[in-house]
Amino acid sequence: MFEIKNLKYKDILEIEHIIINKNSVTSIVGESGSGKTTLLKMLNNIISPDEGEIYYDEKELNQYDPIDLRRRVVMLPQTPVIYKGSILDNILIGKRFSKSENYNIEEIKVLLEKFNVNKNLNEPAENLSGGEKQRICLIRILIMNPEVILLDEPTSALDENTEDLVVNYVVEYVKKNNKTLIMVTHSKEIAKKYSDYIIEIKGDDLFEWSC
C-alpha cells in the first residue's frame, strides 16, 4: 500500500526503504522528536520529503490530487482541534469538507456510546473535556469512511481504561471494514497488543517487525 524509498526530510528523518501493508494495523513508536509525526504528515501529504519517494497504491504521492488523497488517507493530529459549533457539527465537519452530507445519526450515537461520551449531540463542543474532544475527533474520522486512518497519539489525553477501550474499538472497526490503520503511539504496550507491524524510529535507524 505505502512504499517509502530513500526518504530524507531536513535532519529529522531518513528512511531507506519501508513498506506498510494494506488492511493492516501498523504502529510507529520512537522517542519524541524522532520524526514519527513528520512521517505521518508525509503520508497525508501535509508535508513533502526533501528527497525520496512515497508511493500509495503503486502511484507516487505527488501524482495524486492532494485533496482527493487526504480524503482517502485521513489524519488525526495529536492535539484535538475543535471547531465552533455543536458536537454534531464537529463530528460531521470532515464529511462537509468533502461535500458529503449523508450520515446516519444512529451510527454516530452508537459511536458516542462505544467511546463513552455521554453528551447530547447538540451541545457546544467547546465545553468538552480534553479526553472527550479527542474521542469526538476520532469519531469524526471514522464516519468519513477513509481507506487509511492515520492517528497521531490518538489516546494521549485518555486514562488507561478508556485508551484500551478506544483503541480496541478502532482496531476492530479497521479489521471489520478492511481499512488500514497507521498509528503513532508512545505506548509500546498498546503497539504490541494491537498492531500487525511495528515501526520503531531510533535516531537514524529504523526497525520494523511483525507482531
Binding site: 501529504n45 508535508i47 513533502s48 482541534v81 465552533k84 469538507f97 468533502s98
Partner: protein
C-alpha cells in the same frame, strides 16, 4: 449661497494655538511626544500647501494623462502605506496581491462613480476625479491594511486548525474560510460604523467642505450618500479580492501550508 470665507494668513496661523495646547499637555504629562507632534504638524502643513498649488495647476489644465498620473501616485503611496503599516513580514507574492486588489477595486469603483453615478464630462475632470479618488483610495487602503493584519494573524494563530482541516480533506479555501470571514468583517466594519454616525454625530469631511464652499446642504448630502456607498463598495471589492487571492500565497502547489513564511 456665498462661497467660503477666505482666511487670511493670520487667521490660519491662529489655528495653530491648538497644537500649542497639545504640546503643553504632552510636556506637562511627560509623554515625550513633542517631536512627533511637531514633525506631523509641519508635514501636514507643507504637504497641504504643496497639494494646494499642484491642484490649482491641474484644475487649470485638465488633461487625462495628468489625472491618470495623479491616481497612480495615490495608488503607489497607498500600497506603500499598507506594506509599512503591516506588523508582520509580507511575502513577495502577497505584495503583488495587495497591488492587484487595490488597483482593481479602487479603479472599478472610481470609474463607475464618475461615469455612471455622477456622469461627469469629460471623465478626467480633475476637480471631481482627484478628490473622489482620494477618498476611495484612502478608505480602501485602510480596509486592506486591516485585512492583511487579520489574515496574517489568523494564519499564525490558527495554523493548527487550518492544518487539521487539510488533513480531513478540506480545500485550502474551505480550511481558511473562518479566517477570511473574520478578516473581511474586520476590514469593512469601520466603514459600516462610520456610516451609522454620519449626519448625526458628525458631518463628513466632503460634505462639510461642500457646504463651506457654498453648496446647498441637500446637494452636499446627495454627493455624500453616493460617495459613502462607493467607498463601502470599493473597500468591499478591494478586501474580498485581496483575501480570495491572498490566502493562496500561504500554500504551495501541493496545497501544503508554507510554514516557513509564517
Amino acid at each position: 449661497m456665498n462661497g467660503a470665507v477666505k482666511l487670511s494668513l493670520i487667521q490660519v496661523i491662529s489655528a495653530y494655538i491648538f497644537i500649542l495646547i497639545l504640546l503643553l499637555i504632552v510636556r506637562k504629562r511627560g509623554l515625550n511626544r513633542e517631536k512627533e507632534i511637531t514633525i506631523s504638524t509641519t508635514r501636514m502643513t507643507l504637504q497641504l500647501i504643496l497639494t494646494g498649488y499642484i491642484l490649482t495647476f491641474i484644475f487649470k489644465n485638465p488633461n487625462p494623462f495628468i489625472t491618470i498620473f495623479v491616481i497612480l501616485i495615490m495608488e503607489i503611496f497607498a500600497v506603500q502605506n499598507i506594506l509599512k503599516r503591516s506588523k508582520a513580514k509580507i511575502s513577495k507574492e502577497l505584495k503583488k496581491v495587495v497591488v492587484f486588489s487595490m488597483l482593481i477595486g479602487t479603479l472599478f469603483t472610481l470609474f463607475y462613480f464618475i461615469v455612471i453615478v455622477v456622469n461627469i464630462k469629460p471623465w478626467y475632470n480633475p476637480q471631481y476625479f482627484i478628490p473622489l479618488a482620494g477618498m476611495i483610495v484612502g478608505n480602501s487602503m485602510t480596509g486592506i491594511s486591516l485585512g492583511i493584519n487579520k489574515l496574517i494573524d489568523g494564519f499564525k494563530n490558527q495554523v493548527d486548525v487550518i492544518e487539521c482541516s487539510l488533513m480531513l480533506g478540506a480545500s485550502p479555501k474551505d480550511a481558511c474560510k473562518p479566517i477570511l470571514d473574520n478578516a473581511f468583517d474586520s476590514a469593512i466594519l469601520p466603514t459600516i460604523n462610520s456610516m451609522v454616525g454620519m449626519g448625526i454625530v458628525f458631518l463628513p469631511g466632503m460634505m462639510t467642505g461642500q457646504i463651506l464652499s457654498g453648496s446647498s446642504p441637500l446637494v452636499a448630502i446627495e454627493y455624500q450618500i453616493a460617495i459613502m456607498l462607493s467607498i463601502l463598495g470599493s473597500v468591499s471589492i478591494c478586501v474580498i479580492i485581496f483575501l480570495l487571492l491572498g490566502y493562496k500565497t500561504f500554500f504551495n502547489n501541493r496545497m501544503q501550508i508554507k510554514r516557513e513564511e509564517l
